[in-house]
């Protein structure tokens, strides 16, 4: 099994380079992460993040054969060889496949990803009707792996100003929450040519999302609410 993996150690290398690996391994139903773990046994300098190994933590997002995805839920049998692995595009590389996600989380924090409700907390939880709760389906499942945001050209060009698909999906997750009382402030916060309107609906985000969520649709709903607010 042949691999071409992006390598860069800023302490030692002048520039990034692609390293070739050959792994004697019968893929079967194994995932890409299994192969990476075996490669790391051969070469312990290979850097990548991983944790839950089942598509829940979002640590091992990387660019696999030109497409962002989670190594732990990408079957090896689905990949054309040599399997080319690069770090997520558009973010600074710390080492090999490890990227600095600060900018990504800065944008996530900018949309206030928590419930804003000024009523005194009830004795038990704030209950929702099943119908209201269903509005959050397809939004709350996001694991913040960064596959969508780093596949978005608008984020590549304006990572400091455009919130990006993951942040906007989360913004809509709180706008859609009936327990949240800050809808209007949230819309104000996004009414900006850079923060929201850099999205030109090219849908790379929905295409790569490993949880099969649709940030483009959520962004469209934010725009719809803004239109509803002014007409």
């Amino acid at each position: 099994m042949k691999f071409k993996i992006y390598r860069y150690n800023p302490d030692k290398d002048a520039a990034p380079y692609m390293q070739e690996y050959d792994l004697k391994f019968e893929a079967g139903d194994a995932m890409l992460l299994d192969a990476l773990m075996m490669l790391r046994e051969q070469d312990d300098s290979l850097g990548f993040r991983k944790s839950c190994r089942e598509g829940v933590c979002g640590s091992d997002a990387m660019n696999i054969n030109g497409r962002n995805g989670l190594a732990c839920v990408t079957p090896l049998s689905s990949l054309k060889q040599p399997i080319e692995i690069r770090p997520l595009p558009g973010l600074p590389v710390i080492r090999d496949l490890i990227v600095d996600m600060s900018q990504f989380f800065k944008q996530y924090h900018s949309i206030k990803p928590y419930l804003v409700n000024n009523d005194p907390p009830p004795e038990t939880e704030r209950l929702q009707s099943p119908k209201d709760r269903a509005e959050l389906d397809g939004l709350y499942e996001c694991i913040l792996c960064g596959c969508c945001t780093t596949s978005c050209p608008s984020f590549w060009w304006n990572p400091d100003k455009f919130v990006g698909p993951a942040g906007l999906l989360q913004a809509y997750r709180f706008i859609a929450d009936t327990r949240d009382q800050a809808t209007s402030e949230r819309l104000d916060n996004l009414e900006d040519p850079y923060r929201l309107f850099r999205c030109h609906t090219i849908m790379n985000c929905a295409d790569v999302c490993p949880k099969e969520l649709n940030p483009t649709e959520a962004i469209g709903k934010i725009k719809d609410m803004m239109v509803k607010r002014i007409v």
């Binding site: 304006n158 100003k161 009414e191 900006d192 040519p193 309107f197 850099r198 030109h200 725009k223």
Partner: protein, 115 residues
């Protein structure tokens, strides 16, 4: 000036909406003109001038052109915002594009009502 990232201009929605509305106007006009010309047995100067001789058609054409210019302004501005990093250069390009589009608008009126 402080080197801070600033956002929060509180516009964007109107332009996004106008871009969609102007697109619809342009589609309607193109369908109408292409449809009308397809129905003609032949297309020559006479057919073309007759089509544009009524004020209704001229107004529709002007509406189309103004839609085109506004649509173009939003599109060009979006590209400029992505690719020109220096705010002063961005402003300069914005002004040049706006003046050019205003001139085209005046010119369009001249062309449509000037023959």
């Amino acid at each position: 000036m402080l080197n801070r990232v600033v956002t929060g201009a509180h516009y964007g929605l109107r332009d996004w909406l106008v871009q969609r509305i102007t697109a619809v106007v342009m589609v309607l006009f193109v369908l109408f003109v292409v449809g009308d010309l397809l129905l003609q047995p032949r297309v020559d100067y006479d057919v073309w001038t007759r089509l544009f001789s009524s004020n209704v058609m001229r107004s529709f054409a002007l509406l189309f052109l103004l839609s085109l210019f506004y649509h173009a302004w939003i599109g060009v501005r979006d590209i400029v915002m992505d690719y020109i990093n220096l705010a002063s250069v961005r402003l300069l390009v914005h002004v040049v594009v706006i003046f050019a589009l205003l001139m085209y608008s005046i010119w369009s009126v001249q062309i449509l009502w000037g023959f």
